[in-house]
Subunit: 394 residues, 2 copies
């Protein structure tokens, strides 16, 4: 097969709110090769990834991502890695390229899985997929009372684990954060797994993060996620040595294998969180899962968008029995729900199963998507470089 | 002052060749505040950086770069850092943002320098600017004969140092590279400073790089640049321990302070090369220069575009007397020459002087630029988000 087309669809809610909710827009990717179709998704900033797909070449190491994908042969999984390597070489100086490639790589795995009638995790070499314990991933409430109610509702829905993040956390006093953490623990109950996401709020300020450690230990948080920006390896390492039973989690900001490896080498993480929609797709995510597994670091997906992205992000560690926790966004905007016919939900035991179906096992819902399509057009030097493709074109 | 406008201008040669020459296009940045104007330049992929300036918000940590710059107050240098920090926080999940910010940060320094009638290097705290020894930065010839001629011509023009990179180097046999290196040394003469740029050609392949070390040592290369991609810290470190008198150079791929710090911490570099048009501008470049200086690592600019970008890239280490080498592109396409009225050239002793004039000391040549302007238009959801601004608007 040859890759005949790459179509990017910009989807968005009618109104985008200034909150840390990544499900408000999406960049859906459709790749066609021969008679097969595969679907993927790039995380965040749809317009910028569209631009990096189609931009004019700047020089030999700054080409549009499409230049390294269109027309390439796609017969087995080695082709997917070869195409990714080509993108990384030919778009070396195009910073956005890793995010853009991510959705394409995901679509290529989906396409190949559909063609070979195998789930992606099997193509990745896993003999079986183990169910995961999903944590409901939500934002902190504006006040502790709202956080308490969120936690209680999560527990009532049968979740054993919950992650609270962003919102007011880390933005004001230690006492305010303490109250938020206690509210989360109370709402969740004594035996719930409590995870906390600081959303890089302290940037590189170790003292600010350190000041929250007693409260985090007091509520028995399993992890503190992203106290700092991804690159602050030394700061992570210092905090890790003082964090007691609270493990450090991070890695969603990694946009290539090397960044994730550096965090494993130097940041003292107990949990590495990888977004397949950012790091270069399923291929690179699986490389990180292999590396983490060998180091005794737990791999966790980072996902805050649709169930298509969720399935993609589960594949790389589907076969790792010991890595049981998975992120499961539960406050998805209607767009992210409408995107797919297939929806992944925990079973009666509260466990989430990676689809045992060809490819990612997720069918997009074109009629559901249509209302959210954002017409986009890019013209450069009199040439139309991009126009929203026909979603229904066969 | 408040920042009233940010204008991006996409400039390109009529034809872009598939070679490693970064001067074939440019993204010129104009920032206005009150009665002042400042100019900057973002490295590579103009369309993608334009998109990240104006894209719709995805969520609270994925905003367009303009959202964190327009309307901000700008009265002293602390404001520039504050604006950069805001961009990094509010565009955390927008990968391209660091490249986009770079040109804006450069323009802000230029603007403030013009307003305060001081060169940027003085605003950065340097009491004086030391002249640099420019190396002519060129591509390897397709064959050793062409490389020999380039080297001889560079020498004849009075340069004491030359860097050869990209082209066929590293792409075929060790013997072929040996012939290229010998040709460069012969053309340059025994006492010329010879620098070699592998342009990440070996990705992470230490054996391939190692195989070239004898030839590099034989021709007394001062440095081997970018044998690997920027993130391959372990591979750099291994090679550094075996490279003899040839120092390793790298860092142009760094798009934030942390990446550069990691290279200084873990890669065994003797030379750290920073592109102010990628790493977040002059502010972050100066942070790296300070760090490198404390570590005994030599700071070198990375510049392959206009003299505006060259002046910006010289400011961060203008006052470091010991760091004498600077990159000086000598094969600029006509676009990069036409962009500025001011041109920086070595004096009769072969030394390059950082401009002692307000701001960057470089005046753009609007009439020279006009023929290279590329009309660009971006529409999203029926709204015109970007249209090439009026270059001559006062």
């Amino acid at each position: 097969m040859r890759i005949d087309s790459i179509d990017f669809f910009y989807l968005a809610m009618p109104e985008i709110l200034d909150i840390g909710d990544g499900s408000q827009d999406a960049l859906l990717v459709r790749v066609r090769a021969g008679d097969e179709v595969g679907w993927g998704e790039c995380e965040a900033a749809p317009l910028v990834s569209i631009a990096s797909l189609v931009c004019p070449m700047s020089h030999s190491a700054c080409k549009p991502v499409a230049a390294s994908v269109l027309g390439q042969s796609l017969d087995d999984i080695a082709d997917i890695r070869r195409i990714g390597d080509l993108v990384r070489a030919q778009s070396l100086d195009l910073l956005q390229a890793d995010h853009t490639l991510s959705g394409i790589d995901i679509a290529l795995w989906d396409l190949l899985g559909r063609r070979l009638h195998e789930p992606v995790w099997k193509l990745l070499g896993y003999p079986r997929a183990y169910p995961k314990t999903p944590y409901a991933s939500v934002l902190f409430g504006d006040a502790p009372e709202a956080t308490f109610e969120k936690a209680r509702s999560i527990r009532a829905r049968g979740f054993r684990a919950a992650k609270f993040g962003w919102g007011p956390f880390g933005q004001s006093t230690v006492a305010a954060d303490e109250a938020q953490l206690q509210a989360a623990r109370e709402g969740l109950g004594d035996d719930g797994l409590l995870l906390v996401d600081a959303g890089t709020v302290w940037n590189t300020n170790v003292a600010a993060a350190r000041a929250r450690l007693p409260a985090l230990n007091a509520v028995r948080a399993t992890w503190l996620e992203e106290p700092f920006v991804s690159g602050a390896l030394g700061e992570y390492h210092t905090l890790a040595s003082e964090s007691g039973s609270v493990g450090l989690a991070g890695g969603e900001g990694c946009h290539n294998f090397h960044m994730a490896k550096q965090m494993l080498d130097h940041a003292g993480l107990k949990f590495v969180q990888i977004d397949a929609g950012r790091i270069g797709g399923i291929t690179i995510s699986k490389d990180v899962a292999d590396l983490a597994s060998g180091r005794g670091v737990t791999y966790v997906n980072h996902t805050f968008t649709s169930n298509l992205a969720l399935s993609a992000s589960l594949q790389p560690f589907a076969g790792l029995e010991a890595d049981t926790i998975c992120e499961y966004p539960t406050e998805l905007k209607s767009l992210a729900v409408a995107m797919t016919k297939t929806h992944l939900a925990p079973d009666s035991n509260g466990l989430l199963h990676v689809p045992d179906a060809p490819g990612l096992g997720i069918d997009p819902d074109l009629d559901g998507i249509r209302p959210y399509l954002v017409d986009t057009e890019i013209r450069v030097g009199g040439r139309l470089l991009y126009q929203t493709p026909d979603l229904f074109a066969s």
